[in-house]
C-alpha cells in the first residue's frame, strides 16, 4: 500500500492524508478521490496500523472512521491529541453514526470536523482543502 501511496510531505511536495477506514468499498472511493484531488494518500485498515503509520511520518490530515477493529477510532483520536508531535494534525471523523452525542464527543476530543456518511467526493475534498488551508499546510 505504501508503495502505491508514496510519502511526500512538507512544502513543495504533495500534502499527505492518512485514511483510516475498515470498509474496503468506502476506502477505495476515499483514496481515489483524494489521489485525484491531488493529495498523497496513505491507508490504514485499523487503529493499530493508523498509529504505526502516523508515528513513522506524521500526515498533514487524518480521515478517521470511528468503528475499527481492535483499537477503535476514539483511541486513535486520543492518541493523536495526546502526542505533542501529532497534536496539530487535523483529524476529520468520518462515520456512519449521525448521533448528536457522538458528534459532541468528537468535538470535545479534538476532532477538526465530523463528516457523516454518505458523503460525496466534492464535500470530502472541500473539507480536506479547507482544513489544510487553515493549518497552513
Amino acid at each position: 500500500m505504501s508503495a502505491q501511496n508514496p510519502v511526500r510531505s512538507g512544502a513543495g511536495g504533495l500534502r499527505s492524508v492518512l485514511v483510516v477506514e475498515d470498509d474496503p468499498e468506502l476506502r477505495r472511493f476515499v483514496v481515489t478521490a483524494l489521489r485525484l484531488g491531488g493529495y498523497a494518500v496513505r491507508v490504514a485498515a485499523d487503529g493499530d496500523e493508523a498509529i504505526t503509520l502516523a508515528t513513522e511520518a506524521p500526515p498533514d490530515l487524518v480521515l478517521l472512521d470511528l468503528r475499527l477493529r481492535r483499537v477503535d477510532g476514539w483511541q486513535v483520536l486520543a492518541f493523536f491529541k495526546a502526542g505533542a508531535r501529532l497534536q496539530t494534525v487535523p483529524v476529520v471523523v468520518l462515520t456512519a453514526s449521525a448521533g448528536q452525542l457522538e458528534r459532541e464527543r468528537a468535538r470535545t476530543s479534538g476532532a477538526a470536523d465530523y463528516l457523516v456518511k454518505p458523503i460525496g467526493a466534492g464535500d470530502l475534498l472541500d473539507t480536506v482543502e479547507r482544513l489544510l488551508r487553515a493549518t497552513g499546510g
Binding site: T32, A33, K117, P118, G120
Partner: protein, 688 residues
C-alpha cells in the same frame, strides 16, 4: 349439645355434683336414722359422719398448710393449724364418746369428758378462723410461732381434759344427755356448757363477718368459704344451746352439719386449686398457641422474603390457617393481573374449572360480607362456597385480603361441622391474610417494576435498532454516494478499469442495501408470523458449493471447506430461504473468527432429517449466550464486534426460516476462544 358437653368436661361441675349427691345421701341417712322413735342407742351413721368429718378436717388442714407454704399468708396458716389441732381433738373426742364406737367409749366412759372435748375442738376452730379473719393476707413473720403455739396449746388442753376427767366441772350441753347415759344429774346452777356454746356462737358470727369483710377486701376465696363455714358452725352450736332434750331430726342435722361445715371450706380450697390448675393449663396452652402462631407467621414471612412466587406464599398461608384453626379444607382466591380471581388449594397443583376461577371482585366482596357463613346452625351456605369446597362443607370462614385499598384475594377455611371460632382465632386468620396480602402487594410491585424494566429495555432495543439500522444503511449509501460523486468529478482522469471498478462497487452497494431492506422486511414478517416458503427438493451439496463460491470474496480471509457426502438425500426446503440461512451462518462465522481460521460447512443424514452445521474456529460463544444469540438484536460483545457489521437480525432470521421449514437450529461452543458450531436440521424430501 355443645354447652352440655362442656359442662360435663368441667371438673368444678363434677365437684359440685359429687358434693350435692353426697349431701343428699347424708340427709337420706339422717331421715332413715330417725324415721322410727328416737333410738336409745346411737345410730351407727354418726360414727361414719364423725369419721368423714375427721378426714375432711385433716384434708382442709393439709391443703391450707400447703397453701401457706406457697402464699406465706397468715389466714392459710391459722386455718391450717386450727384444723390440724381440731383433727387431733376430734380423734380424742371420737375415742372418748361413749357408745359411738364402743360401749362406754374407748378412752373413757365419762360423757362429761366427751362434752369438754367437743366444745374444746369447736373453740380451737373458732379461734383459728377468727385469727385468720383478723390477720388475713398480711405479713406472716410473727404468726408462725404464735399459730404453732396456739395449736400445740389446744392439743395439750385436750390432753389436760383427759387427765383431769372427774375433777372437771360438769357440762350440760342442751340439758341433754346422751342416749346411752340417760341419768346424768342436772344440778349445776350455772349451765356452763350452754354459756360456753353461746360464746362460741358469738365468736363464729363475729368471725364470719370479719372473714366476709376480709374476703371482700382481699378477694381471698379461702376466707369467703370460711365465712360460710362459720355460719354453719354457729348453727351447730346454737342448736346445742337451744335444742331440747329430744334426740330429734335437728340434733341429727346439727351432727351432719359438722361435715357440711368442713366440706364447705374443703370445697373452697379444691375449687381454688382446680381454678389455679386450669389457669395454669390455659396459660400453657396459650403459650403453646402463641408460639405456634408466631412460628407460622415467621414461616410465612420467610416464604415471602425468600420466594418470588406469590402463589406459593398464599398456599402456605392457607395450609397454616387450615392446620391451626382445625379446618378440613382451605384455599385462597388470588387476584390475577386481569382482575379475576383464581382458586388455589395447598398441595394441589392446579385447580381448573370455570366455576372455581371465574370469581370477580364483586363475588369476593360478597363472600367477605359473611365471614362466618354456615357456622350458625341451619344457616345456608352460599352456592359459591359450595362450588369451592364441595357440598360436604357445612361452615366456612372467609378472611378478605386487602392490600392498600385493593382487594387482592381471600382466605377460605372449610369445616365439615360448624365450629365456634373465638376472637383470637379470627385475629390469627386475619394476621395470616395480612401477610398474604403483603406478599401479593410485593409481587405486584415486583411485577410492575419488571414490566417497566421490560418496557424500558424494549424502548432501548428499539432505539438501538434504529441507530444500528441507520448505521447499516449509511455504509452502503456512503459507498454509492462516494463512488458516484468521484466518478462524476474525476471521470476524465480515471482509467477505464478504474471507472468500471467504481461502477461495480456502486452495484454491490445497492445489492447490499436491498438485502438489508429485505432483512428488515423479513424480520417484520417473522414478527407477524407470516413467512411464505416455497419448498422443493433441495440438493444441499450443490447449494453448499454455490455458497462457497458466492461468499468467497467476503470470506477471503478464511479457508472455506464443505463436507457434504455424496448421495445425501434431498431436503424439503425453499432454496432461497435455505441459502439465506447458510450464507448468514457462513458470514457470521467469518465475522466472528480471526483471519486465517478455517470455516467448515458440513451436512449429514440423521434419522429422517439432514443435519447441517457451520463450524468456525473463532472466538466461540459463552455458554450463557448460546440461546440468546438467536434473540433479535442480540450481538456478542466481542473484540471483533467493533468491525462487524450487521443488523443483529441474521440469526433471528435463520431461526425463523428453519422453524418455518419444520427444523430446529441451535448453537454449540466449547467455550470462549474455542470456536463455535451452528447446527440446523431440515426434513428429508418425501414425494407425496
Amino acid at each position: 349439645m355443645d354447652i352440655r358437653r362442656r359442662a360435663w368436661d368441667d371438673p368444678i361441675a363434677h365437684l359440685y355434683a359429687g358434693t350435692a349427691i353426697f349431701l343428699l345421701a347424708l340427709l337420706a341417712l339422717a331421715f332413715w336414722s330417725v324415721r322410727d322413735a328416737p333410738p336409745l342407742v346411737l345410730p351407727w351413721s354418726l360414727a361414719v359422719v364423725e369419721g368423714l368429718s375427721l378426714l375432711a378436717g385433716l384434708s382442709v388442714a393439709f391443703l391450707c398448710l400447703g397453701r401457706y407454704r406457697v402464699l406465706h399468708q397468715p389466714a392459710s396458716l391459722w386455718i391450717g393449724v386450727a384444723f390440724l389441732a381440731n383433727g387431733a381433738l376430734t380423734v380424742l373426742y371420737i375415742l372418748s364418746w361413749p357408745g359411738l364406737v364402743w360401749y362406754g367409749g374407748i378412752l373413757t366412759d365419762n360423757p362429761n369428758t366427751a362434752h369438754w372435748l367437743y366444745l374444746l375442738k369447736w373453740t380451737t376452730l373458732a379461734g383459728g378462723l377468727l385469727a385468720a379473719a383478723v390477720w388475713g393476707a398480711g405479713s406472716v413473720r410473727d404468726h408462725l410461732p404464735r399459730a404453732v403455739a396456739a395449736g400445740v396449746g389446744a392439743v395439750l388442753a385436750g390432753g389436760l381434759v383427759m387427765l383431769l376427767e372427774e375433777r372437771l366441772p360438769l357440762l350440760e350441753v342442751g340439758r341433754r344427755t346422751l342416749p346411752s347415759q340417760p341419768l346424768v344429774v342436772a344440778s349445776v346452777v350455772v349451765p356452763l356448757g350452754e354459756v360456753w356454746a353461746a360464746l362460741l356462737v358469738v365468736a363464729f358470727l363475729i368471725g364470719s363477718v370479719l372473714a366476709l369483710r376480709r374476703y371482700r377486701r382481699d378477694d381471698d376465696v379461702l376466707l369467703g368459704y370460711a365465712a360460710v363455714m362459720q355460719l354453719v358452725a354457729a348453727f351447730i352450736l346454737a342448736e346445742a344451746v337451744l335444742g331440747g332434750q329430744r334426740y330429734d331430726f335437728w340434733w341429727y342435722l346439727s351432727r351432719l352439719s359438722n361435715i357440711v361445715a368442713y366440706l364447705i371450706i374443703l370445697l373452697g380450697l379444691l375449687t381454688e386449686y382446680v381454678g389455679l390448675y386450669r389457669r395454669e393449663r390455659d396459660r400453657a396452652e396459650e403459650a403453646r398457641r402463641a408460639l405456634a402462631e408466631s412460628e407460622m407467621l415467621r414461616d410465612v414471612a420467610q416464604a415471602i422474603s425468600g420466594s418470588a412466587d406469590v402463589q406459593q406464599v398464599m398456599e402456605r398461608v392457607a395450609a397454616h390457617a387450615r392446620d391451626h384453626l382445625a379446618a378440613q379444607q382451605a384455599g385462597v382466591l388470588i387476584r390475577a393481573d386481569n382482575g379475576a380471581f383464581t382458586w388455589r388449594v395447598p398441595g394441589q397443583a392446579e385447580t381448573n374449572g370455570h366455576q372455581r376461577n371465574g370469581f370477580s371482585v364483586a363475588d369476593v366482596a360478597a363472600l367477605a360480607e359473611h365471614p362466618l357463613c354456615g357456622m350458625a346452625p341451619g344457616a345456608p351456605l352460599p352456592p359459591a362456597v359450595q362450588a369451592l369446597f364441595g357440598s360436604e362443607t357445612r361452615g366456612v370462614l372467609v378472611v378478605p385480603m386487602v392490600a392498600g385499598s385493593t382487594s387482592c384475594g381471600a382466605l377460605l377455611l372449610g369445616y365439615d361441622t360448624p365450629r365456634e371460632l373465638d376472637e383470637r382465632d379470627l385475629r390469627f386468620a386475619e394476621a395470616l391474610a395480612g401477610q398474604a396480602a403483603m406478599a401479593w402487594e410485593q409481587a405486584q410491585a415486583r411485577h410492575e417494576a419488571a414490566q417497566a424494566a421490560a418496557a424500558r429495555e424494549a424502548d432501548r432495543l428499539k432505539s438501538e435498532l434504529l441507530a444500528t439500522v441507520s448505521h447499516e444503511l449509511r455504509t452502503p449509501l456512503g459507498s454509492i454516494k462516494g463512488h458516484a460523486t468521484t466518478l462524476a468529478r474525476f471521470s476524465a482522469q480515471m482509467e477505464p478499469e478504474e471507472r468500471h471498478e467504481f461502477l461495480t462497487a456502486i452495484d454491490r452497494a445497492t445489492d447490499r442495501l436491498s438485502e438489508l431492506v429485505d432483512n428488515l422486511l423479513l424480520v417484520q414478517r417473522l414478527d407477524a408470523g407470516l413467512l411464505p416458503t416455497f419448498p422443493e427438493p433441495l440438493d444441499l451439496a450443490e447449494l453448499a458449493e454455490q455458497i462457497v463460491a458466492e461468499t468467497a470474496e467476503r470470506t477471503a480471509a478464511h479457508p472455506l471447506s464443505t463436507d457434504v457426502p455424496a448421495g445425501l438425500p434431498a431436503v424439503r426446503g425453499d432454496p432461497r430461504r435455505v441459502r439465506q440461512v447458510l450464507v448468514n451462518l457462513v458470514d457470521n462465522a467469518s465475522k466472528y473468527s480471526p483471519a486465517g481460521r478455517p470455516i467448515r460447512v458440513a451436512a449429514e443424514q440423521v434419522g429422517e432429517e439432514v443435519l447441517v452445521s457451520v463450524h468456525d474456529e473463532g472466538e466461540g460463544i459463552p455458554a450463557e449466550h448460546l440461546e440468546r444469540v438467536f434473540e433479535r438484536f442480540h450481538r456478542l460483545d466481542s473484540d471483533l464486534r467493533q468491525s462487524t457489521s450487521g443488523t443483529g437480525l441474521g440469526l433471528t432470521i435463520c431461526q425463523g426460516i428453519v422453524e418455518a421449514h419444520g427444523g430446529r437450529i441451535w448453537a454449540e461452543s466449547a467455550g470462549v476462544g474455542r470456536g463455535s458450531t451452528f447446527r440446523f436440521t431440515l426434513p428429508i424430501w418425501k414425494d407425496a
